[in-house]
């Protein structure tokens, strides 16, 4: 077992010698403030919609975004155990990205019950009601996007991106991300935003050197 891991590391080292560095920016083409919707949005008889602005606060869209470079032949990263905390009627990480085979612990830090469930094809589950301090564990064996909700609290929503690719990242505050020693070839650069969903762009990684890529993510609702 150790040997296998070692040889993998060796191969990775060899590969990196012949690859290029990939760096890029995720570009959010719309506003970076959180869109708010008032509880009572529309009058049935068509009076003007009443929107409240008190809840408008700046959020970092990149916190809710994951970028993954797919298409390589390299094996995934080793599985990890991550914690998705439930605190203040929210999942404390909007988006989690883990290598395939990882385990996520759903910890309830709120003084009330939560019921975490997912309908996603990649991994559907229902953890049932459990109180404060308890945690339930799910192992994600298939790559894909798993969207997680709470049955009791309709506003709780998180996503776990399970990937078989070793190149994944959450962009930093300015939206930039980078991977070193990516072997040359054609790749799909995928950005998944919690609200805007999937955005993909094709890139070609050269033998050596560096490339810069941009991926545009429209966050706001686009009316057709």
């Amino acid at each position: 077992m150790f040997r296998v891991w070692l040889s993998t590391g060796l191969l990775l080292a060899i590969g990196s010698a012949s690859g290029a560095d990939v760096s890029g920016h995720a570009v959010v083409t719309k506003r970076l403030t959180k869109k708010t919707v008032a509880p009572v949005a529309y009058n049935l008889r068509g009076a003007d919609a009443r929107t409240s602005t008190e809840d408008s606060r700046a959020v970092n869209e990149f916190d809710r975004m994951v970028v993954v470079l797919e298409g390589g032949t390299l094996p995934p990263k080793p599985p990890v155990t991550a914690i998705l905390d439930q605190r203040g009627l929210k999942f404390d990480n909007d988006v989690l990205v883990v290598p395939v085979g990882s385990t996520v612990e759903f910890l309830n830090s709120d003084p009330i019950f939560h019921n975490v469930f997912s309908l996603s094809k990649a991994q559907s589950f229902d953890l049932g009601y459990y109180p404060r301090g308890e945690k339930r564990t799910v192992k994600f064996t298939k790559p894909g996007v798993v969207q997680v909700y709470c049955h009791i609290h309709a506003n709780m929503y998180a996503a776990i991106v399970v990937t078989a690719s070793p190149w994944f990242a959450k962009p930093v505050a300015d939206g930039s991300f980078s991977w070193d020693n990516v072997p040359p070839g054609h790749y799909r650069l995928m950005a998944w935003h919690k609200i805007a969903g999937m955005h993909v762009t094709e890139i070609t990684v050269p033998e050596t050197g560096k490339i810069d890529v941009n991926i545009r993510v429209p966050v706001d609702v686009e009316h057709p």
Binding site: V40, A41, Y42, R45, G144, A154
Partner: protein, 618 residues
Amino acid sequence: MKRSTSLTMRAFLFAFVPLCVVLAGSFVALNALAERRIKQGLRDSLQKSEKLLAETHEDYSRRISQFLTVLANDPGLKAAIGLLREPSTSADGAATIRRTIEAQLRDMHGLAAFDFMAVMDWKDRTVAAVDFGRPVEASADVSPQMPAEPGLAVTPGGTIYELTSTPIAIDGEQIGALKLGNRFDLRRYHFDGETVLLRDGHIVLATAAAAAWHSLEAELSNQCRDLNHECEMQHSGETWLVSPLHNVALGTNYRLLVVRSLDQAVHEFTSGWVAILIRVGACGVLLALLCTLATSRSVSRPLRDLVAQLRRAEAASQLPESIDAGQAGGEIRLLADVFNRVVAAEHRTRAELEKAKVQAEAANKAKSEFMANMSHELRTPMNGVMGLTELLLDTQLDAEQREYAATVRESADALLAIINDLLDFSCLDAGRMSITTAAFDLYSTIREVVALLTPQASRKGLEVELRYAGDVPSQLLGDALRIRQIVTNLLGNAIKFTETGRVDLSVTCEQRTEIDAIVQIAVTDTGIGIPADKLDVIFEKFTQADGSMTRRFGGTGLGLTIVKQLVERMGGTVAVESTLGAGSTFTVRLALPIGPSSESSASLAAIPAHGYQEVKPC
């Protein structure tokens, strides 16, 4: 006012017509006022209705929206929508998601029975829709076009939904929308009159009968350019008030209009008090009628009483002694008093005249009787004179004595003729002359007269000719003596007033029947004639055409008067035609009964004609 209109009618018209005019005027004014008020009232009521509706709906909508927000806040629904954001969602997978969401919508329908429910994704694309007004299996195909804003939406099949949209959000982040709607129910907006829903100027729904939509649409587009403002239009012979409902937002291309008939509203409003007004008016008219009739009658009754009194007097052909003004006073009593004074004066005058007339008649009669008696008395001595003169002439006289005696006899004859005329006239004037009726022979009567007067004519060198027509019956009934006197007078006059020429006497029958004949005796001369202006007076007493003639021709002037009176007493007429200087024609027409047949005439003729020659004293 016509002169012929009676006093009663005038009084009535003066009182009644102004009343009617005032009534009619007030009616028209009230009607106009009512119409103005009603228009304002309709506007106000619509505004109130709209305001009330808006207030009600505001509260209702808030509650509904809260409820819908709860509905939209279903974690299962949110999770299902979230699946669409996952990568590698195949078409098959999308269909599964759609079916899942539709199943959830049907489940929601148990909570809130909306006719139409749909879920949109965060890009406003329809994820799933269920139309509960339609068969379940066809639901996805007949989804209405979703408007961006809430309002009305129409399915391809023409069903109109009123849609409301509730966002589906996670922690304030919109991930989709829940659209819920009910079939648009026009009755909710049906306050009064007709409610019409227009889309782009075309009627899509209306409470009016579908047959009227087309004409209504045409009138609206013709007469109401701006449907955002109230307008009036003419439709099917009535005036309609078209009011838009502003507080109901149905989408930019929809207009909701309330169309109400002003005429009908006015009619409904006025029908009540029109009936009252008509009753009051009728009572007023009746009262005015009675009052004016009573007034005018009280004015005219005394007058009509006076008229009735005069009418009675008129029927009796005499002036009334006096007329009675009755209870009336003032002008009418004055009128009656004046009339009575005039009548009294008239009565006095009339009595005096009557008295004078009686006195005059008595005096005239006394004179005539005196004349008659006197003439009679005169004849007795005349007979003595004439008889003794005849006797004297039979004695032995010398030539001179005989001449004197003959002169006496001629003078006596002339005097006797005058006395006879006076006697006849007096008898006629006193009304004591009687006409007898007996059979006589007209021809021989006339022959005798001609024979008697021919010598007198011959002495003046005149020719006398008698033409007796063959068809004139000889045997007639009448007073032979008077007819002889008439013919004698006419023929004697003709001979007297003719100097030269001739005198013709013609007897003709103008008309003849079995029982009587109208005989015409005409005497024509070639004498001096009579002036036209004197023709009327020659039959008067004691007159000749010229006063001087009496001295020239002699005579009493009574001859023609006697002829006229005799002819009239016999029921006949006498006429004269004359040309001054050329001659005259006197024509007597007498209707005489035909006497016994000529076979018996011999016996009648036996009566001696001369037996009647003497004038019978009256």
